[in-house]
Subunit: 281 residues, 2 copies
């Protein structure tokens, strides 16, 4: 076993710290996660882990030790560091003493098939990583396949996005694409796209959503731009009273996703009920 | 007119900066807001403004100048500072050059009447000011009266909460109370309380919400504690599939609030439709 690393200047720790910067994440194709919950989910979902970093003196749970041993058995490099060295890279107070450097995964747009019954979310130029992570978390809760990032959307592998996703970063598929490629994909597959706009006449709650669809959400400030709105089969609005004229983008996404999810659930119930009736002579 | 203040050590600027600390806000009963949108809303809603702070060299819009002149005419103190002095207190990059120090407003629990048809949100020990501000924003959008803060809930006058509220801080009523006072209030008024829990058997979407109610939401980590859950007429759950076992608290609040809002809207529509029928002979 390697000796315990005590210097924050150690190259592995330096890399882990530098992964806070988007540029470094883009160049390396890696990202950093912290805490036993997220590390365990990455292992459970079979992500390619570059290294685990642990501070044995801080690791208190048996569960965490088991995960570390299982990772070691799978040939994953485990870097052991002193509590102080760990604190040099931790983004939390009282860190749990476990972190991982992981290889990013990006899916291809050609595998995105809302026309085959899948539920996807398309995000145009979302700026806040916390919002993006929260959207991933909600997407996972309603059984969506994943998120397509359009234009200059913030990085889902930003530590704030990873944290806000509560592990959904490891189960939701992530695709990023240019406008050109997206337009070609739309022309080829004619996917059912539903957009949101506070100016739309269609109430999101009265609309019957297609079986599969991609929900397009615009940026915090600008909303969905005309080029994307024009591709949509329908634009829906979330009604508001009172003095605010918009909702937080993660909240707005959740409200529409739950409407879609409720319609799917109702349909499922109706289908089972009908099947049930068929069995009754 | 006073000469332009150039020193960040000026007492007015010092006070504005110190309002970032909760302790200073509690002691002074003041809070700090920044940007023309929020300042204009505070003026429009008639809040008691201790002072406006402006950097004339940064104020570019005619709208902002009009608001400043209107405030001056109402006898509000306007402190003019240099761009650099303004930057010393600004929480933003490229600040708009207008901020205000405002007196906090707290309502009384005795005026909170969900039993009279009002919609309120009760929050137990919410930790994140961004979540609290986002909840205020959504509460305003669905026509709620306000938010009751229970236990050690974060401060709605925290700059991050004010910012996330997008102005709803000035229109939603805010009440904070101890557990004892809340229990006495419940015993006296028997308000319809509806709580949320991921363990509840009742689906939030199948439940018929009473005309007026207080929606009780628990903290990010712990959920609603038994003492509050036991007061509730019903506990509802938001169903989830996938690998996450909870939603962001601002998202969960929004999903239930929009269900309540949709039921109220439908009722309104039905009532109007029935009234219409009555008029047809």
């Amino acid at each position: 076993m390697d000796p315990l690393i005590t210097s924050p200047a150690n190259p592995s720790l330096k890399l882990a710290r530098r992964l806070r910067e988007r540029k470094v994440r883009e160049q390396s194709g890696l990202f950093y996660v912290e805490g036993i919950r997220l590390v365990a989910e990455a292992l459970a979902q079979g992500w390619s882990i570059e290294m685990l970093i642990i501070a044995p003196d801080r690791l208190s749970s048996e569960f965490a030790y088991q995960k570390v041993e299982a990772a070691r058995a799978r040939g994953i490099r485990v870097v052991e560091v002193s509590p102080r060295a760990f604190e040099s890279l931790s983004l939390k107070e009282n860190p749990q003493g476990i972190a991982a450097v992981i290889h990013q995964r990006w899916g291809s747009l050609s595998a995105v098939r809302p026309d085959k019954g899948e539920l996807w979310i398309g995000l145009e130029a979302i700026q806040d990583p916390g919002n993006l992570g929260t959207i991933l978390r909600t997407a996972e809760a309603v059984g969506a396949q994943g998120v397509v990032l359009l234009e200059h959307t913030t990085d889902p592998y930003d530590p704030a996005a990873v944290r806000a996703s509560m592990g959904a970063i490891f189960t939701q598929q992530l695709v990023r694409t240019s406008r050109e490629v997206f337009l070609r994909w739309v022309a080829e597959h004619h996917p059912p796209l539903i957009g949101t706009s506070d100016k739309a006449a269609q109430d999101y709650h009265d609309f019957i959503y297609p079986e599969g669809l991609m929900l397009l959400m615009g940026s915090e400030r600008e909303g969905l731009s005309p080029v994307y709105a024009s591709l949509c089969q329908a634009m829906v609005a979330i009604p508001m009273v009172g003095r605010v004229d918009s909702l937080n983008v993660a909240v707005a996404t959740a409200i529409v996703l739950y409407e879609i999810f409720n319609q799917r659930r109702r349909k499922g119930k109706l289908t089972s009920a009908c099947k049930g009736e068929e069995r009754i002579p």
